[in-house]
């Protein structure tokens, strides 16, 4: 059921709309309620986020109250205080995206190309890929916390094989947070790549072999470029939510206070400390940085059929 949405996710070429020829007042009537809803609950909140981000503290010193101002210094202060969190967010998100790609691409290739002759197995394998969607995000992350815990099975095995020293820990480390994020987004990475590879014409791959290209060369000059739309949308579907995620990095899950990401700071400032301007300016910085990185990435990947 989720296939449909991911098949036409941004990045994969959009289905050509049939006969968009007619002009009719009915169209506006259909469009208006939904668009008005999005304007009211997506555009206006964004504006109030910007307004909040430059508010100043209450002159009478009341905590949790802020007055309208154009205090742009908020941004400089936030950047000076929270640059490690900002750096961590993007570092973790990039690392997790690469790991998810390294795990997800071969899975997608296996399902989309190798299992093509076995439709039933292919369908079953796809169900396995989307299975994590159906179990609570928080519980599956918590499950990893227990599995990787100090008294859990993984750490013990790694220590007895002397891969890790006896005093090593897995939970509460940057590695665990990156792993957790990568795990949670593997399905988002795998499905768009699968939809690209599923349509891949294998005769191109054969042609590569016939022209004496090694399998590795064929992969990098034929298969990978043809699956780029899937790779682009998979990496975006992973990277964007990963940069804003704060569940994996939370101390109650896979992280520790020194692995906190922007999302953790925004949550703490908005919901606990009630320092709304800090939370709002960090949100705007996060959004701006993501738009910038995604723009650069799309230009490099050379895919323009995104919006």
């Amino acid at each position: 059921m989720a296939f449909g949405a991911f098949g036409s996710a941004p990045g994969t070429p959009a289905v050509a709309d049939a006969a968009p020829g007619r002009k009719s007042p009915v169209a506006l009537l259909l469009l208006l309620p939904g668009v008005a809803y999005l304007a009211l609950f997506f555009v206006v909140p964004f504006v109030s986020l910007i307004v909040t981000s430059v508010k100043a503290p209450d002159p009478f010193g009341e905590i949790g109250r802020y007055v309208y101002a154009f205090r742009w210094e908020n941004y400089a202060e936030v950047l000076a205080t929270y640059w490690p969190h900002i750096g961590r967010s993007f570092g973790f998100a990039i690392a997790a995206t690469i790991i998810a790609l390294l795990i997800g691409y071969p899975i997608a290739y296996f399902i989309g190309v190798k299992l093509r002759r076995f439709p039933l197995l292919q369908a079953l394998a796809l169900v396995l890929v989307i299975a994590p969607f159906f179990i609570s995000f928080l519980l599956r992350t918590f499950a990893w916390k227990q599995i990787l815990a100090d008294e859990g099975p993984v750490l013990g095995v790694l220590q007895s094989m002397t891969i890790l020293p006896d005093d090593a820990r897995l939970t509460g480390t940057a590695g665990a947070v990156i792993f957790g994020i990568a795990y949670n987004f593997i399905p988002f990475m795998t499905l768009p790549i699968y939809t690209s590879l599923e349509r891949l014409d294998l005769r191109y791959v054969e042609a590569g072999g016939d022209l004496y290209a090694s399998p590795v060369t064929t992969f990098f000059t034929v298969t990978l470029p043809l699956s780029m739309p899937g790779v682009v949308s998979g990496t975006l579907l992973t990277f964007i939510p990963a940069a804003g995620d704060y569940i994996n990095a939370s101390s109650d899950f896979l992280g520790a206070p020194d692995t906190a990401m922007i999302g953790n700071v925004i949550e703490a400032n908005f919901l606990r400390v009630e320092n709304y301007p800090v939370a709002a300016s960090l949100s705007i910085i996060l959004m701006g940085a993501i738009l910038l990185l995604v723009g650069l990435y799309i230009r490099r990947a050379g895919t323009k059929d995104l919006v």
Binding site: A27, F41, L49, V51, Y109, V127, A131, L139
Partner: protein, 272 residues
Amino acid sequence: MNRGLRFGIGSWGLAVYAILGFVLLLTPIVYTIAFSFNDSVKTNIVWRGFTFENWTTICTVENGAVCEAFATSILVGVVATLAATALGTAIAIALARYRLRFRSAATLLIFLPMATPEVVLGAGLAAQFLTAGVPKGVLTIILAHTMFCISFVVVTVRARVSSLDPALEEAGRDLYASPGQVWWRITFPLLLPGIVAAALLSFALSFDDFIITNFNAGAASTFPKYVYTAAARGIPAQANVIATAVFLLAIALVIGSQLYSAARRKRLARTS
């Protein structure tokens, strides 16, 4: 000969890698399901033996907090799904069928919420509710969920509208069907699979959402929010029970729908 052999090893390597990938994907799921049967005392961390007891006490543990959060999640999911499906389907039809002056602006407006990190969506809505003085609760959660579900509905239904043959509706009009008859007897039944898929996706997204909910819930609690709060002191096994039940139901639904469409394809292939 040599090449064939290398391909063979490569294929086996790939199969093993993919199977390890599936094992990785399933590990926390199996863990969560297994610990719904754990004979736990206070915290559900150490395996103490098999029991069905947790399955019968979901609504009594912690004075029914788990059960109540689950009921809120269902309520929010159903209402947000209905609203988002109605609004999103209308947009999808308008975009796929009509010439519009603001098409690219509307498309951008629908794409942007999907490209915005949840923490920004959540903080933005919370800032707006704060400014407008709207008290946070179940209503604000529903308003927030409807917002982020609309885009996914539009994308899903639009693909279905685009693949629809307009000649079918034309045939209806040629046979003097009124616009209402054309919609209810031709267009709507043909779009229904897409609409149902969009609604199921919306419900799944709403049901599992934590970040946006956390910013806009106030004192109300959904199932994910309950789990997040409980994580600090230990999640009771009854939460695993609910997650397990939902998981099994969803998997049955997916496999069932796949078998149904496979059988349908076979039947259609035979008749044509």
